[in-house]
Symmetry: C2
Subunit: 215 residues, 2 copies
């Protein structure tokens, strides 16, 4: 019965996600679902992206958190529409939560909808939000074994952004191992190495996002 | 119906956890449940602890992971009994998983059972494993806002071990904010600041663990 119920939860989620996908496509906007561990730098990456994107693209953000509006507050200063979803302790966003807040946006005027998921490298992976692609943010201090240990997140990603490259010299991070593990589970993935702190590597990432959102 | 089922899952978990708690108490061993984000340093902390504890205490480890036995392999070289639980993608350990592997240990000969949970700062918190205390491992690179953003993990902890203190000078981490947020949700918590890399601060943590496990 537990299995049946879990299947039903996923079925409902997938059905609503398909509806969302059609809405996003017919509105001509790119929806991206940003995943990663707590503290990997999801909000920082969105901040840096907004700095470089807002003049060129019309962007909005949905911010998912267990509690607080700390991250939404960080993003509102960029002058883009930001809607906060507090999950009340739930470990992931689901498609119904997204559908419930969509009326707060004027979708046809948008080029890009960034959805920042709850900080969690496990549960959000299984909940399709109708996005065109999943972006996994990982960071050097988490260690070079993270792809091997959390393969589902990395295999589901269209893009992996490896953040905190500025700490490279302070850490014993085996880049070859990380990349080898990543390509083994996801040969088609795009990878960007960045530092949201110093700005290293962000130009390539922003170019990618600009190009995808404009097409 | 979803709510009722969730309640039943927690009820079953709590019932088994109470049984485990009695088993641990009657065996005279201290069971600790180690939680934290992926890459916070849970396995590293256990490695450093085993280096300092094994001569004094009889220790065993249960290692929880989505997949792989990478962490169990790291710990086996210390010559202590290690049992790996692969959750098959599930985001937390539950009490039934623990009960199912207990027969692999000779419990009355043990002083300390360390249970390393799946890397996840959200879901494992709600699943009591019969432990005497929860140890939350956090790390400086995750950022000083983590207590505010993931309050349940931190409020449920008997101990918070703040790891990667060696990176302090490379990061903009507001220690006052972290501690203020922590005391606000958990005034009775014990906190240790350590670096599993350089060894800073581990003596106090190991003393605490020795003392608790020996009493």
């Amino acid at each position: 019965m537990q299995i049946n119920l879990a299947r039903r939860i996923f079925d409902i989620n997938d059905r609503v996600a398909e509806r969302l996908r059609k809405v996003f496509e017919s509105s001509g906007l790119l929806a991206v679902n940003v995943l990663g561990s707590p503290g990997a730098g999801k909000t920082s990456l969105i901040e840096r992206s907004l700095e470089h994107l807002t003049n060129k693209l019309r962007v909005a953000v949905i911010e998912g958190d267990l509690a607080t509006s700390l991250d939404a507050d960080r993003l509102r200063r960029f002058g883009v529409p930001v809607v906060q979803i507090n999950t009340g302790g739930l470990c992931h966003l689901d498609s119904t939560m997204i559908e419930n807040v969509l009326s707060e946006f004027d979708l046809p005027t948008l080029d890009l909808l960034i959805i920042e998921n709850v900080g969690n490298l496990v549960c959000p992976v299984r909940f399709d939000l109708g996005e065109a692609c999943k972006i996994v943010v990982a960071s050097l201090p988490e260690g070079d074994d993270k792809v091997a240990k959390y393969p589902t997140a990395f295999s589901s990603a269209s893009v992996v952004v490896l953040n905190k490259m500025d700490l490279k010299n302070a850490l014993n991070f085996d880049m070859d191992r990380f990349e080898r593990d990543l390509l083994a589970v996801n040969p088609a993935v795009e990878m960007f190495r960045v530092s949201c702190c110093t700005g290293i590597g962000l130009d390539r990432w922003v170019d990618w996002l600009n190009q995808r959102a404009a097409s």
